[in-house]
Structure formats: structure tokens, C-alpha cells
């Protein structure tokens, strides 16, 4: 037996943990990329704001997408509900209200990480302290994910946690592809061409995919193969197809799953059947937009079926 409200909190807790981790990693990877790129053709910090999908809010509060502004916005700006601080705070609120279900050790880890990010914020925003800070956020989130996986019964409530985690990963992977890959793919300016490699490497790094890509693909990093890896690879835990398959497995164990499975089937087929060559040729935009739309639909369906409180209230 699982309360709808508890299921919802588990789902969101996992999404927020994953969001904090991904944001920290993307910041770190971008930071490294910036160090490698020649100063005169800098790609700037703005793409990060686009990845987080909150460019409008950003523009309301900042006049330029400087390093300082973007980093602050992604790490601790309360105007950005997806910033690392806000994500961890939300994860903590969700865990606080499900303490009866989640192993104590997990609560301790999250609490610890939350305190660390608060106490060391100034260092996290500085150039020098950035690496240590982001590393600690990434490690803390992974420790938490590991503790949950290793010490909690893999029951229905864990299923919602796992779905949340994979929904967020799918989301993040498609966002990274959307912002970074779209610009990289067809018509690179001559100036940027020589740096295509390191840019693709950083796309893969943003999703911890570089090493696994090398192991499985065996060729130097090229756009097409990288894209295929991020979308269709069946064994890499952050590829879109892998994440969707995880969600499918969770759904199979849930009651009343028909509608959600139908939406999931649609998005999974889209990913499995897409011809990478064609979308590379014709532009990624339409495909990624459609993918994100159906992904959003899946989230809505899960919410309606499992979280929205049923039964007449009066």
C-alpha cells in the first residue's frame, strides 16, 4: 500500500536530487571547456542558462550572461527554482516528509550535503572553490542515490523514486542535446571547426558519457555517433532509451498503468525508430521538441494517475 502523497514526494525527491547533480556536473564540464577554448572564439556561458530552460527569468534579473552571473544563477539564485540550492532544499523537504519510509542513513546524507552547500556557498561561487564544491554536490547526490538503492526495499515507493530519477535524466539528456548538439551539428563555422572534438567531448562529459562512449563506440568522437549513443544506447544509464526502459519496468509493477504505458510506448518508439542520419541532416530541433513534448505528457499522465488526489472530497 502506498499513499499517493508519499509516491509524489518520492518521485520529486529523486528528480530534485538528480537535478542538483546534473546542474553541478554541467557547470563543472562547461568550466573545463571554457578553459580549453581559445579566448577569441569563446562560446560564452549563456548556453547553460538555455539548458536549464529558464532564459526568460534569467534576463529579468541579469543584464548580461557573464560567468559570474550564470554561475550564481545556477548555484544559488532563489529566482531560479532549479538552482542547486533550491533543488537540494526541495529534495530535503520531500525527504523530511517521508522519513517514515526512507532509510535513516539517506536522510543523514542529504542533510549533510544540504548543510555543506549552505556553509560553503561563497567558495562554490568563486572560481577557485568551484571544482571542490561541484564535486562534493555530485558525490553527495550519488552517495544518496546509492544509499537509497542499497538500503531501501525496492517496493512500490522505491519504484516512484526510480521513475523520478529516470524522468529527470531523460529530461536532462534531451536538454543538453537540444542546446549543445543542435549548434554543433551541421554547419560549424570554420573558426570553430577545429574545436568540434572537444566540444562533443564536453557534451558527453556533461552526461558522464565520455568514457563509456569510448568503450562502446571505438571511434573518435563524432557528432552522429555521440548523438546515437545519448539517444539509443541500451546499456548506458543516462541514454534516453535506457531511462525510458527503466520507467517502463517500474510502470509494469504499478496498478492502473495502462494510460501511462501507452504514452511511454509512444516516446520509446520515437527514440528507438528515429533515423539519426536523417535528423542530423534535417536539423534536430523538430525531433527534440517533439520528444520533450511527449516526455512532458508522460509526466502529466503519471501525475494524473498516481498523484492527483482521487475520490470526492465532500
Amino acid at each position: 500500500m502506498l499513499l499517493s502523497s508519499v509516491a509524489e514526494r518520492m518521485y520529486w525527491m529523486a528528480r530534485y536530487i538528480e537535478r542538483a547533480e546534473n546542474t553541478a556536473r554541467i557547470l563543472l564540464v562547461h568550466n573545463n571547456l571554457m578553459l580549453d577554448m581559445p579566448r577569441r572564439i569563446s562560446i560564452g556561458w549563456e548556453p547553460l542558462v538555455f539548458i536549464m530552460g529558464s532564459a526568460n527569468v534569467f534576463r529579468e534579473h541579469y543584464s548580461e550572461a557573464s560567468e559570474r552571473n550564470v554561475v550564481r544563477y545556477l548555484v544559488s539564485d532563489k529566482n531560479n527554482p532549479n538552482c542547486i540550492s533550491c533543488s537540494l532544499a526541495m529534495a530535503r523537504e520531500n525527504l523530511r516528509t517521508t522519513r517514515a519510509i526512507v532509510p535513516r542513513a539517506a536522510w543523514e546524507t542529504l542533510n549533510d550535503l544540504f548543510e555543506f552547500t549552505r556553509e560553503n556557498l561563497a567558495a562554490g561561487l568563486s572560481r577557485r572553490g568551484r571544482y571542490t564544491y561541484m564535486k562534493r554536490v555530485i558525490d553527495g547526490c550519488q552517495l544518496l542515490t546509492g544509499k537509497l538503492s542499497g538500503t531501501m526495499s525496492h517496493d512500490l515507493s522505491y519504484g516512484f523514486l526510480r521513475m523520478g530519477r529516470n524522468m529527470e535524466r531523460t529530461d536532462m539528456t534531451t536538454r543538453v542535446i537540444d542546446v549543445r548538439a543542435t549548434n554543433l551539428l551541421p554547419n560549424q563555422t570554420d573558426e570553430l571547426k577545429p574545436f568540434e572534438d572537444i566540444q562533443w567531448k564536453s557534451v558527453l562529459d556533461s552526461l558522464t558519457a565520455y568514457q563509456m562512449y569510448r568503450r562502446h563506440v571505438h571511434v573518435r568522437v563524432r557528432g552522429r555517433q555521440a548523438l546515437r549513443f545519448l539517444l539509443q544506447e541500451t546499456e548506458f544509464p543516462r541514454s534516453v532509451q535506457y531511462c525510458l526502459t527503466e520507467i517502463e519496468q517500474c510502470l509494469h509493477r504499478l496498478p492502473g498503468n495502462e494510460a501511462s504505458l501507452r504514452v511511454l510506448g509512444r516516446v520509446l518508439r520515437m527514440v528507438q525508430e528515429v533515423a539519426i542520419d536523417r535528423i542530423v541532416r534535417e536539423g534536430l530541433d523538430d525531433f527534440i521538441d517533439e520528444l520533450q513534448r511527449v516526455h512532458g505528457e508522460l509526466h502529466e499522465q503519471l501525475t494524473t494517475t498516481y498523484f492527483v488526489l482521487q475520490g470526492s472530497a465532500a
Binding site: 499513499l3 502523497s5 522519513r99 543523514e108 504499478l254 488526489l309 472530497a313 465532500a314
Partner: protein, 483 residues
Amino acid sequence: MPIRWKEYSSANVYDELITSHGRARKAAQQAARYIGSLTDEELHERRDAAELAMRVMGITFTVYSDQGGIDRAWPFDIIPRIIPAREWRITEAGLKQRATALNMFIADIYGEQRIIKDGIFPGELLAQSVNFRKQCVGVRPALDVWAHICGSDLVRDRDGSLYVLEDNLRVPSGVSYMLENRLVMKRVFPELFEDVSILPVDGYPTRLFDTLASLSPRPADYPTVVVMTPGIYNSAYFEHSYLAQQMGIELVVGSDLVVQDDDCVYLRTVGGLERVDVIYRRIDDLFLDPEVFRADSQLGVPGLMRAWRKGNVAIANAPGAGVADDKVVYAFVPAMIRYYLDEKPVMPNVETYLCMNEKQRGHVLANLDKLVVKPANESGGYGMLIGPASSRAEREKFAGLIQKDPRNYIAQPTLSLSTVPTLCDGKVEPRHIDLRPFILSGESNHVTRGGLTRVALKKGSLVVNSSQGGGSKDTWIVETGEH
């Protein structure tokens, strides 16, 4: 410098561990000898270890500020409060007797009201009681028990005897700290637990679950029992969550529950609606059901009272049980025991003057500087006058209040609460304490072994509430071989 019990003195009051001659009482001898053998450094190490354990185990209570809720570590003192098992057996019997009589009283009040007809309890008191719920008249809860969980506050006066100060019958809290304090002490003083015969406390969650399950309206099935909390912003949220976890049942808020047209209560689950049999509610009567009580309550469940009155769900404590949780009603508990059980009360009340009684009111008004005056329906130490510590203006104010609304005030002599040695700034000093045992009533009665000892950490203070500088201690019931 290690503790020298000879130099410890708790002037003019009863100390639970050390006699006025600086000798440990029998039940405390082993503990006192052991603690006395530790160097300052060792003692501080133990204290730090306890603090760390508290933090790591996440034992907190919630304090609110502008930045939202903050979990504070629960102040804890490592020197235990020790009660001989022989004395405890008598206390236990007294508490069971009291809970039985209180439950019979509540059932009678919402039923035939024999105690009023027989002239033992004045009926006009009910009309003015803020905790009497007319919506509960005529209801017969399972087993005729209304107050399934009672937390009675006990204090020991200078004469060395324990008195009942009040009975909390609404939503008494603190039991989770009693359980966690023991876990911490076992980590900090494992040696003592090997040598001293200390009665265990950890059976409480199982007993609580059994008591709750026994109330189920569907006894044939495995009942669905839930803990209902007002939510994360309640100061006792930690305890609600803790008890749910320990009993392995769901922690719910009002919006998780719904009453359907069949007048049954259901949980909203991912698999649809699921029937609930027993609700251990940690929310006040008036917030339970907006259809019946406060219409603006966001915490409750519309229709809950309907379901309860029909007997489709059990609520613990039953709505309306608070009628006996009133400082005026308290004064009648010894009379209730004699009336319903035809027994002599085992546990004495603190002498109580009712201001509604003209003669007693005269005595109170003439002795305001010596008495403690309390409003009938407040808890947590609010709205009190402590005579010996009061100013003339305060006394005049209270004299006015009493004359205006005599039903709402009682007065008691100022007790000198007993003390226990407590580690304060590296030294051991006496600090005042009370004790809250918990009594479960269902098919049978059960009393916790000991209870939660609260300690006023400020020197000379008698206020043990956690919100006002209070902390807690582990409470040991120790077998000494005497019977």
C-alpha cells in the same frame, strides 16, 4: 575533578539519586559509583558522545523562525533519573487505576451521566468546559475506552512522595524521546547496562500498535492503522513520523484521507482508495472535521466524525476525550476512583482549590502569594501565576481574573519539585525534574516503564518545557531485589 557525591547537595528538596548526607540511594548506588569513578575528561567524552548520537540519529524538535522550520537537537543530560522497581510497581498500579477511572468518567459523561445524577460531579462544570463536545454525546467507542493514550505528569515533593500533577488526554507527546534517550544511553554507558538491572522500554511501539489494532471495527481482517499528523510544521512532527516508522504504518495528513458516501474512511493510494480502520490522530479535536468543528480547518477530513459516530472507524484518542483533561475536572479524579471503582486512590493528587467554590476561592484570594494559580484549560505552562515569585500587580490582576471567571481557575500549593544531579558547565548540580509516563488503555492497560523525565536546565527553574529551556534524561526503573 571527578564528581564527589559528598559535596553534592540539593538543599531543602528531595534528590532522586543522592540523600542529604551525600550518599547514593539504593537503586542509584551502582550508577553513582560508576559515574563518580570517571574523570572529568571521561565524563565530558560521554557527554559529547551523547550529543553526537542525538545529532546523527536526527533526534530533534522543531523551532520556527522567519527562515522556516529549524530542527533543533533535543537537549539531553547523561546522568539518568533512577526509580526503584519496587516503588514503580505501586506507581504503575496507581496510573492504571487512574486511567481506568478517567475512561469510565468520559464514557459516563457522554452517556448516562450517572456521576452527575449521583451528586459527585457538578453538572454545571460541563456546560462551561471548553473540551466537552456535544457531538460526542451518545457515542459508544470500541471497548468503551475513550482515552487510549494518556500522558500523566508526576512530580515528587519535598516529602518524597509522587503526586499526579495533571493528566494529558488529548494528544500527549514525548514518548519518542523516552525511547530515543534509552538508545543514546545504551551507546554512551554500555557498561552500566550490563551491570545494573534496568527494565527495558522498547516494547512501547508494539504495545501501542496492539492497543490501536484492538479498536478496529473490522476485527476479522488485519486492520489498517494510520498515524495522522497536522503536518511538518507541528513541533511534534518528529514524534509522529518516528512512531509511524516504529509501528511500520503510514503517516498521513488530512488530505490523504477521504470519507466516501458509505461513511467509511479511505486512504488515497496509488492503487486507488483503501479503507482505514483506526486513526491515531495527533491533531486537536477542533481540527478533525470541518463539517462538524472548525469549518476553516485545512488539516482535517470532512465527514470524519460521521464515520466515527457510525462506528466505521476508530479514532484514538476519541474525540471529546479531552473533557477529562481539565484542571478543574482533575480535582475530582480521586472522587471518580472511589465512585466508579470503589477503591482507594493509589496515587495522590496535588491538593487543589477550586475557585468556583466560594469558601475555597476565599482561601485562594487570601493566599495568592503562596499558591500557584492555573487556568483550567491551558497547557504548556501558559497563563499561570506562581505566587511566591509574583509581584503585587500580578496578584491583583489574577484576583480580578478569578473573580470574573471563577470556574476557569484552580490553585495549588507551590511544590518544590525533586532534583537529579545534572551536568552543567562541567559541574554536577541539582536540577528540577518531572516525569511523564504514558498509559495505554485498550483491552488491557499498559504503563511505560518509567517515562520521559524532563529537566529544567536553568538553575533553580521549575519550568521543564522544551520550548523554555528544558531538556530530558533517561529514566531507569532499577530492580534492587526488594519487593
